[in-house]
């Protein structure tokens, strides 16, 4: 395993909150193994806005205290087995949300404001179980209740992207939730398929989809670093591998056996 990935994992300390992206946006699966080996536990995961394989693996490895999410699943491969089991056993605290509420919380942090209002939610048990959320009367109109979502400020955001340049600028294309995570988080750790010599900001075509190095704490190269997830514009998801995991991780023992062989990067056939 690359030393730079291990070094990035060391920035995570016990009890931190980690923002992790939805399965199709660019999950840094390459960081999963280093995070588990580093072993910082008691983590509060913020899924942006839902979680999958990486979240399930971190839970299975016993590193997670709280999951704040709109959902956790393995998509076509079915339910997330270690997450589901941990909820049933009461091993983790679950903060159920809805996707736009997670986006609103990150947006509030991005703006440096304490909260954002959002529509919906009223009358749901999602809202009823979130004492940290509020409902107020819209001060600009008569009898219009509206839900408020407090700012979400993760300690660390971690994601995978196609490329970065030597200055630490990262190309995220149109996956703007990756920027939202980075704006909101204190630190952002990024793995990339490749590091390019040209400046991504020198060309307007790439500059428009670039997250400036201002928001990026560290970058490391990890080819096929989203596998078994796909990476937009680069490679597709490996559904067979996700299904292999889903079957293996039904039990704690099966999970441990699977993880023994999982290095976080695709092993050439």
């Amino acid at each position: 395993m690359a030393q730079d990935l291990r070094d990035m994992a060391r920035r995570v300390t016990p009890g931190m909150s980690l923002a992790l992206p939805v399965d199709y946006a660019g999950v840094s699966m390459a960081m999963t193994r280093p995070l588990i080996e580093h072993g910082a536990g008691g983590l509060h995961l913020v899924c942006v806005p839902t979680g999958g394989l990486q979240v399930d693996m971190l839970i299975g490895a016993g590193l997670v205290a709280t999951v704040e999410t709109s959902a956790v699943s393995l998509g076509e491969a079915g339910g997330a087995p270690r997450f589901n089991d941990a909820v049933r056993q009461g091993d983790i605290r679950i903060l159920d949300a809805t996707c736009p509420a997670i986006h609103a919380g990150l947006m509030a942090a991005q703006k440096g404001v304490p909260f954002l209002p959002i529509r919906g939610l009223i009358g749901s048990d999602v809202l009823a179980n979130r004492p940290d959320w509020r409902v107020i009367d819209n001060p600009f109109a008569a009898s219009d209740p509206v839900a408020l979502i407090p700012a979400i400020r993760p300690d660390v955001a971690i994601f995978h992207a196609p490329m970065a340049d030597r200055e630490g600028n990262v190309w995220i294309g149109r996956r703007r939730e990756l920027a939202a995570m980075a704006y909101a988080a204190s630190e952002t750790l990024v793995t990339v398929e490749r590091i390019v010599d040209r400046s991504l900001l020198a060309d307007e075509m790439t500059a428009a989809g670039t997250l400036p190095a201002l928001y990026v704490s560290a970058v490391a190269q990890a080819p096929r670093g989203a596998w078994p997830y796909g990476l937009w514009g680069e490679y597709a998801s490996d559904t067979d591998e996700l299904m292999r995991y889903a079957a293996a991780a039904r039990t704690a023992k099966g999970f441990a056996e699977y993880m023994a062989g999982f290095v976080g990067q695709e092993v050439p056939a």
């Binding site: 049933r88 809805t98 529509r119 919906g120 009358g123 149109r174 920027a179 939202a180």
Partner: protein, 255 residues
């Protein structure tokens, strides 16, 4: 061409429910709604543009502002239709995507509420879709309300449920009552079976209509263009569908 598979009748029903939409979105892990939306778009080709957003798809996703844009566009009134599933759906159209038992330590945990607690309020035509039609899914009262079917007067709500489609039948939702009315029964099923499989009370005609099967032109569009489009986002589902079609051809008669 061989007769329609049960799932093809469902997909064609979904396409019918989407008649007239300008923009429809499909969530993650929803191959049949995606296929129905793709069929709608294919049927309307050259007449009216149907925009389709499939979360998780590269090809069928025109958003450039990340995963928040779907919700923002719904909040702006730019999204006409959306699909919701549900581990449990009750007679008031409340939807539970969280789990069975006492929250939070539920006995059975499902993925979670996704965008339901927002989109159910902001999308005018929400179609409830759940293939399993059984008393454990269609319950009298859900264990957890991910999203409520109706709201108190004064709560901002431009959207909500219009229909419930299952593997056995199609219901319409009346928000004034509120409650479901059986609209049609799929081929091979009957009212007694629907009654036994539904955990909530619903209105129905003495002899409910049968859900229509697709015509040959629609079926060939579905098995050609739509199946090809679907394979990009839902490869496993598409492969299974193709293998069922191949089996149908080998048998030489519909299953």
């Amino acid at each position: 061409m061989s007769a329609a598979l049960p799932r093809e009748i469902l997909i064609c029903t979904i396409a019918r429910l989407l008649d007239g939409v300008r923009h429809v979105a499909v969530g993650a892990s929803s191959p049949m709604p995606a296929a129905g939306a793709m069929l709608r778009r294919a049927l309307d080709d050259g007449q009216r543009p149907v925009r389709l957003s499939i979360l998780g798809s590269v090809e069928h996703n025109f958003f450039t502002n990340g995963s928040a844009e779907l919700f923002d566009s719904a909040g702006q009134g730019r999204l006409d239709a959306f699909f919701l599933g549900g581990g449990q759906i009750d007679g008031q159209a409340n939807v539970n995507l969280v789990g069975v038992g006492d929250y939070p330590q539920v006995k059975v945990r499902w993925p979670g509420s996704f965008g339901s607690a927002y989109l159910y309020f902001t999308v005018p035509r929400v179609i409830l879709f759940r293939e399993e039609h059984s008393p454990r899914v269609l319950v009298d009262k859900v264990d957890f309300i991910s999203a409520p079917g109706t709201s108190a007067p004064g709560v901002y709500r431009t959207g909500g449920p219009v229909a419930l489609l299952t593997g056995k039948a199609l219901f319409r939702f009346d928000k004034a009552r509120p409650g479901f009315t059986l609209e049609s029964v799929h081929p091979g099923h009957d009212l007694d079976e629907i009654r036994a499989a539904t955990g909530f009370a619903f209105d129905h005609a003495e002899t409910p209509a049968a859900t229509p099967a697709p015509d040959t032109a629609t079926l060939s569009l579905l098995r050609g263009r739509v199946l090809d489009e679907l394979a990009e986002t839902y490869p496993a589902f598409a492969a299974e569908w193709r293998s069922d079609l191949a089996a149908l051809t080998r048998e030489g008669s519909p299953a």
